[in-house]
Symmetry: C2
Subunit: 155 residues, 2 copies
Amino acid sequence: MPAKTIRRLAPAFALAVLTVSNVSVAADPEEMIEYRQGAMEVTKYHFSTIADMLKGKIEYDPAAVEKHAAVVQMMSTLVKDEFPEGTDALAGETNALMEIWDQPDAFADKVAEFEDTSEELLAAAKSGDKGRVASAVKDVGSSCKACHDDFRREE
Amino acid sequence: MPAKTIRRLAPAFALAVLTVSNVSVAADPEEMIEYRQGAMEVTKYHFSTIADMLKGKIEYDPAAVEKHAAVVQMMSTLVKDEFPEGTDALAGETNALMEIWDQPDAFADKVAEFEDTSEELLAAAKSGDKGRVASAVKDVGSSCKACHDDFRREE
């Protein structure tokens, strides 16, 4: 097949793959963007609440930590589906950089790191070991920063 | 105790109760409002994706339905903490009506209904019974509408 034909077909293949792996792709890119910005807010709130407890800004409550960690962990599993093809059309109007779609493997690695560290945060929260929670919070925070450094426009 | 003194002390009691039940209250009402609006977006996206599958707008995928239902169920458990005292200060700038804070018991009933119907939706999704999922989606939708009718400003 000539390279030109392959290039012409590539978007169709990409779409086919997406249809299989992301059955939940929203029809409307703007809705998808609103959703993923909401998801970021939810993640930020629950994660920063645990961080605030560790800093003593609010009372440390192991049961609440576990609840917040469970939300962060669940939210982490959703990120990989939050940036489907088509939602980059409005990338200029959001803080999502085109690198997300141009470097999908590098992006997937960062997202996987967020999933892994969030899973450890939940395990740490369930263990009731405050030191382990503190360590896990640091690792989740690092994974947030690593991804934002590469894939989010500086505000 | 004279009624006047009770009235003067009431906010202090309310705050004390809040401190116990909502350890996770955000310091900044505006942040809390951004969070809860994000939480609504997340809930709406995952719930409407299941609804779209039932409508045939996207392919019905039982595994995806279970994943989306798990998010809706978790989000439903968070609503009761999303409207703490203090976040009504900006109520005029959001669609949240003052009735949320003026009729806390009625509001709590609607929120509990959302939790219950979401739990049934997750159970239905796990059962793999599409008819049961359809029925549960209808009930969750009704609970959304019932709460929005009474406590959200019409857009």
